[in-house]
Amino acid sequence: MASISPEPVAHRVLTGWGNTPRSSATVMHPATSGEMAASLADPPTRGVVARGLGRSYGDAAQNAGGRVVDTTGVGRVEIDDAAGTVTASGGTSLDDLMRILVPRGRFVPVTPGTRFVTVGGAIAADIHGKNHHKVGSWCESVQSMRLLVPSGEILEVTPQSDPDLFWATAGGMGLTGIVTEATFTCPAIETSQVLVDTVRAADLDAVMDAMVTGDHLYDYSVAWIDLMATGMSMGRSVLTRGRFARLDELDELGGATSDRPLAYNPTVRLAAPPWVPPGLLNKLSVRAFNELWFRRAPEHRSDELQSIAAFFHPLDLMRGWNRIYGSRGFLQWQFVVPDEAHDTLRSVVGALTESGCTSFLAVLKRFGPGNAGPLSFPAPGWTLALDIPAAVAGLGPLLDRLDVMVADAGGRVYLAKDSRLDPTLLHQMYPRLDQWRQTQRRVDPDGVLTSDLNRRLGLT
């Protein structure tokens, strides 16, 4: 992060958001666009990768024994109101963007469950949000980007000028270059309040049915699912869906907020303690939390006004929430399977529930169509994401087994979350991998760009 980078170069141990696995690298903190442009020069033998805010759960933004370029030191944001676009440097966070855009009546095209991600990271992981079924993933809103490649050139890449490179960079996990700047469309909003409908679903079938029949009526949709509920309650969920409220609706419903319809003041209310006792998260405590959370949700509530932070980024309310998993850390496993493989989703949810592994609420979402990115994760169908403590006994073999089920159903796991996939499944999950490799080699013939993720999976 920019605020804690006193030295231009430092040797540091890095991890992803899951705090595992860890490795050390020479971290470079460019503070000017000139320094950024030189960040790929004289690369060490173990290569270079860019790192934003380190929110990838696994090892995508670390590079053991090599160089890591912190992109967050260079900031620039410009708004073109007539075109409805924003141009921002690669290290700009979505947090900063929203603080600038929301009061001016615009929103980011896509936001994940945290606003502490960068524009460059959003491209490298081709992030998705609750509106994927409506607008697709991040890169579908990108009109152009400036990409620093190992030759030292900064290429202006658009989907028209070099579609191969553009789409290889979308979801390319930073292995095609460093995004120094991007221009993307930002939709207009009349208010900063989201009009939310909440439904409690008794089991997995009920929530899937509700999503299939009703998601198209909403801009944003996501379900939180309790994987620790067993028997008849297996897959019980709380489905929240909504859209930005219009000005007239705010007048009608908003009371005090209506005189400042675009007010945006997200706060961090709590910070996780720097150390937590091991075993804080156990089956009992997590089950109790999930139970409480499910009971707290209304069975059915319509037209509730929620703030952007409450609706999109509930976890950001607690700074450093990843620390509650203790020093051993946790991993997130996220997969997508096609619509017709809903039975696989059921089997996976069943297997996870049966395993009794400690998991806070998991996130279930129905994706719309995918895009041209060979390594872009989203594909039409069901995606499920869950956090699990890394040291759970039997976790590796369990997820290996589930990965095979996902791959056999024509699905895949999300590389931005991955920290343990069997590399032999990569090709089956990402069948256009070879096409991606061709483009990757065109811009990086000497293999300068690499990361721990790449070493572990052999992407390039």
Binding site: H11, A64, A393, L395, P397, S419, R420, R455
Partner: protein, 255 residues
């Protein structure tokens, strides 16, 4: 790279025919450790059979290289050969050692020196050479086979016990020195293990098997532990033993 569950993709075993090492690597091969190098003194016979069983367990490549723990001047070449074969070494398992016989050591101190040279000096040499590799590559795990004998010296095997005590202390220091490199050290303290090394001896209480020790090692990798005991109850047993008055300890530990 080690994955988030602590499992390596590549591994070097120093003392490649150790039963505990083979049991451990069999489990890791089944968990997708794809490339293993067995470094041992006798590269025929036992090593070949071990390599075969590791391939059966799931490893895609197993190589065997020369390693003589007793000759520290050769250690650098062994580590270099392993690096050449493996590229990054995700895990180094140090499983060499000799138990010896205290009566023989009493009669022939030079035999004791030779045993200490293998158990301790070689661990220092290989440990430091490994640390250089891990610092360079910026990640990795070292698994050090220590012993409960390191916890408190016993009249009937204090040469062995003191050599393991040296190794144990060395490993803890190594562990702290590697934190900034992003690398990790796991110290393993088994009790009496039924293996070739202990064949014909009277088992001590809480005796265990190579398979059990291997399970504890894998679990230690998963949990990110710094020390594991096998069986795990020995941790508590030795919490008490450590503090027994000398006279009491002498009687309790007599065999």
């Amino acid at each position: 790279m080690n994955d988030a569950t602590g499992i390596p993709q590549t591994a070097l075993v120093l003392g490649g025919t150790s039963e505990i090492a083979i049991a451990t690597m069999t489990r890791l091969a089944a968990r997708r450790c794809r490339h293993i190098v067995l470094a041992c003194r006798d590269t025929q016979g036992g090593a070949v059979a071990a390599a075969h069983s590791l391939r059966t367990a799931g490893a895609t490549q197993v190589d065997i290289i020369d390693f003589d723990a007793a000759d520290a001047t050769t250690h650098a070449a062994t580590i270099d050969a392993a690096t050449e074969l493996l590229g990054d070494i995700d895990m180094v398992l140090m499983a060499f050692g000799v138990l010896g016989n205290q009566a023989d050591f009493d009669a022939d101190p030079m035999a004791a020196v030779a045993a200490v040279n293998v158990n301790y000096t070689a661990a220092v040499s290989c440990g430091l050479l490994t640390a250089q590799v891990l610092r360079r590559q910026g990640h990795g795990t070292v698994v050090m086979l220590s012993s409960v004998a390191a916890e408190r010296a016993r009249a009937d095997n204090f040469v062995y016990g003191s050599s393991k005590a040296g190794l144990d202390a060395f490993s803890q220091g190594l562990s702290d020195s590697l934190v900034a490199a992003g690398a990790h050290v796991l110290v393993v303290r088994p009790g009496f293990v039924h293996t070739r090394m202990t064949a014909g001896m009277k088992p001590a209480p809480f005796s265990t098997t190579a398979d059990d020790v291997a399970d504890r090692i894998v679990r230690g990798l998963e949990t990110g532990a710094h020390v594991v005991w096998a069986p795990s109850v020995l941790r508590w047993v030795f919490t008490v033993m450590r503090h027994l008055p000398r006279g009491v300890w002498r009687k309790v530990s007599a065999r």
